[in-house]
Subunit: 337 residues, 4 copies
């Protein structure tokens, strides 16, 4: 950590900061510039509260040298993590494709969708039972019935299932049904929920918050890891920007950044990023070429009748075609589907 | 609602959309332009899922005419709501000032802070017992002990108290202690939590999410209102932008926009917006001049020793001075402190 | 165009708006909803000033139905434009790769770089002679000497050249040297400059402004086209967001959106988007897989000694390797390099 | 400057960086942490290109300690600058109010507007002769005729005038008419234009770019100052964010930040920030309470007939009322109107 003292900081202020740093267990090392003084503080104290230093008189700012996350960072674990979702690997040479409707609507529809996406190459089925909707008047999901349907479709098809959990009180129930928890973008900083899924031993698909920095996202993953569960898959799903032509702006370079900073696998959700099925294919192929470990794609038998996210859902035929195209791109970058 | 058909939409597609709209209970009215057709759909169906229309073949987009919120909007209730927090009014001619430390740290410190902020003009005491922290290694709050301390300080000082609730499982407990719930920015779209506080009869201070649009914020308020609790105070606390000179960018014009769209009162949190105590005064005065109904300000006896948010906390003397300045600005815009 | 009247608009206000619309040459068509009235205005008057309507009493807002651009849009010209840069086609089945240093520094260095990037597959050489630098104290380019060097390297290598023009007064000079003008991100809305290059018959590489919407970008292209030059290549180079891990956030979905809205070709600049050579490869491959018509990549013989943009420049060997990888991705999506 | 070496940087790489820094004239000082090494580089070399260091092998990043601007910063000139616009002071105890139409439309209209805004307290008249419009089909201004009109209205009313210059070729002409140049938001990084107005001895109103950081804005001012003209007034006019309820988001805290970092005066443009006359008053009062040195407000006799920016223009009566309210707020913060 480097402490930058402000112009005009007094010798006494500099001494006080050094003294405080020593109390906190750092070795200090001051560099006196022509105009400003900076103090190097040696010691990996990333778990300490450094705000106390920032608030001291004469301090301009703190420059952290170490990343604030430990367990999910590459600094201490350089080899990539491969997450195992009931036998399906995420983070290995083979891409993991997760597909299915936004929300579970009925057993018949989910079964038909599941069979089709499996034929096209998906290995994990998505489907929301608990839905976080912007409007209280929108369909909120089939809840426990939805989980039952998911489980019976898994039984029939062999697909693994992932479904979102919204409330700490539901973690135990959802845990009985799914192969992987999903933490949605809106809940990325719902820390109690992160801790609760961290106490299970199920893999967690952690979506990036709508306006979360990559560092905040990794800190959210750190919450899960710190509670004991390191089976985490990051999911880039677009961030909020000023551009309105797409629902969100997919941050494709986040893939390369995550690969550099973390050992966790990362998948991309082109459907929520685009908000429009017409752009899903381009984003999906771009993501795979850029190094994503997998995709999560919304597929619906009849988008106009979907109870949620119809406009961004692909029909099974379009998904099938997309998987063929994605397979070619995967090969071009040395992966398989 | 207006449905804009895409260029090249066929007559059959236009008919299908009209038919669907009629099924949903709308009266329709098509306008045939030179290049595109638009269909007006008459009927206040804001509670319907209109995504189904967007997904129909030939549809370019939907233009809603009515606001998606009902209970919190001005369209149906033009008179301003005044929220009553144990006798302290928010939304009336008198400004409501909420002040106190970010986190409750000890009874002695909170008591001293409370006495001082009360002398300076605050009517409600803030203090976090459950803290949402970006890092799992940071202080997470005194939890139930913090609530006990808040209650005993209320007893001694007569200040009303507001404290954040993070988890649906804690709502009942927190309800026993506080005069107003706080829903933090990270939980603005934690819909189960919104519903849970919506089922109490306590006022709710609803902070704007870090990247929430004003419409999404009002929809979050609508969740609380739809569950039965209309005692909601909105709190603007800065939004995430590309600018890094301040922690967030305070959206001061949101005050005027909210006053136009909603009947709910709005207060401003200059401390979280700025992230730096030096800018708190300018923002606080700007907010009051722009029409805010109150302020929520972080005050700490000794910011460098604060366990949370020290850099943006004012010392009691600075807060006292600020209150004097704010009082003058309040008078200039016809309010009192 | 749809005019949405505000709740409570009077009959007289509605009449006035209709009268005004008729004066402007529209046919009108009012739809009276339960709460609000909307007026459809038929006629393609996209060249008219519609702000005058927005300012009329009782008007809530205007909803345009037609796109505000004509010449660069797909509505009137559905077939893709292929731009010819001295024989190199941009927008056809073959990808166009533009490479070279940020700034022209010396003839020797540019010659060596040019030879190498040509061997790796680049067809057009980039190199700034006039540099827009954030600091007035940074290297501002070799100016006319830089253009001379570019021309002599073209002579020797057969590569076509593109270089940025910053000032209307330089357009004539730059025109004598380059095969394609570059309009930089900072000048995307420098309308006089757009008009000046619009009056030449040289192709123009139009970079997206740092915070430009896709619509504003197309309107900037419309300025060039409206002045008489339709040889325009759009260049996505990352937009400004809150994320600081990369210099900008590449908007990969803009490729698909542009392909839908416009007939112009689009290339991607992964170097400026990333601001860090380590991420250039991932973005370049992602862009090609997502449908970009080409790439513009910064290559420098010795990045640490570069006078500008060293951190994001690739060494020729790394560029060579990247071109091989990009070639495979291009093939996977049915393009060639 | 601090150079942070990456984890795993070799001793040789550290030595190379130190050697390079010494060559550039710095004294160096390495601090060897447990995991990473940082090198302090002493010497105020803010005018040097430090990118060359960033590109060296083993370097993770550079942390600048000094601000990149000198002339416009407070570090070297702590006392506030008061700019003199033909006798009207900006930056002193009295607020400077600039008002007038977006564009000059006719002499009669401008004269009437000028007389009215003067009566209400404005001291400087605004009015665009050269207009930067998003669409090439919109009104582009009366150009030189507009300047003539401005000059004759100045003659008649005694108001000083400010008008925008868009093109380096027009600087000389505009200089003959105006009392202050305006550099618009779109041209904030049009460096040749900044240099051209920097070579005159007229004050310059420098608007913040739509997505410019405060640091980039000050660097743009530095361009003007470095060319010889230090009569610069900064103008905050809203930044681009994801929020669409207002045209831009006014960054009110920028006032306090600028006051800390720079000695230049700052005024606020509530009209462009809001994009809607209804919000202009709240922003104007908020800005003054937050410490702005003045306002620039769009006023039009009949907004619906305005050729530009009608929706955000105030009628003279509304402007008159606003000035009274602003005067009270000014007094409350120790300023006068």
């Amino acid at each position: 950590m480097i402490v930058v003292m402000s112009q005009g900081a007094t010798k006494a202020q500099i001494n006080d900061v050094e003294k405080k740093l020593v109390q906190l267990g750092f070795k200090t090392h001051a560099i006196y510039g022509q105009v400003k003084t900076v103090i190097g503080a040696i010691g990996d104290k990333r778990l300490l509260n450094t705000e106390s230093i920032t608030s001291m008189p004469g301090v301009e700012r703190i420059v952290p040298i170490m990343k604030p996350y430990k367990l999910v960072g590459r600094e201490l674990k350089p080899t990539p993590t491969v997450v195992d979702v009931g036998g399906v690997k995420i983070g290995g040479p083979e891409l993991a494709v997760i597909a299915g409707p936004c929300a579970v609507e009925s057993e018949e529809a989910l079964m038909e969708t599941a069979v089709k996406v499996k034929e096209s190459g998906a290995r994990i089925l998505r489907g929301g039972a608990f839905k976080p909707r912007t409007s209280p008047y929108s369909f909120q999901g089939l809840q426990k019935d939805g989980l039952e349907i998911l489980a019976s479709v898994r039984e029939a098809t062999g697909l693994k299932i992932v479904s979102e959990v919204l409330d700490t009180r539901d973690v135990e129930t959802v845990d009985r049904y799914v192969d992987m928890f999903q933490i949605g973008a809106r809940n990325m900083q719902n820390y109690r929920l992160l801790q609760e899924v961290g106490m299970t031993n199920k893999p967690v698909l952690l979506k990036r918050g709508l306006a979360a920095t990559i560092e905040e996202w990794l800190m959210a993953a750190e919450y899960i890891a710190a509670t004991g569960n390191s089976q985490i898959v990051l999911c880039e799903r677009g961030i909020r920007t000023y551009e309105t032509a797409t629902r969100n702006t997919i941050d494709i370079s986040a893939i390369a950044v995550i690969k550099e900073l973390s050992h966790l696998p990362i998948v991309v959700d082109p459907s929520h990023a685009a908000g429009n099925w017409k752009y899903v294919g381009a984003i999906a192929k771009g993501a795979v070429a850029a190094g994503a470990d997998g995709l999560i794609v919304e597929v619906h038998l009849d988008p106009p009748s979907a109870l949620s996210d119809g406009p961004q859902s692909l029909r099974p035929e379009k998904f099938h075609q997309l998987m063929k195209e994605v397979g070619l791109v995967a090969q071009a970058v040395g992966r398989s589907l």
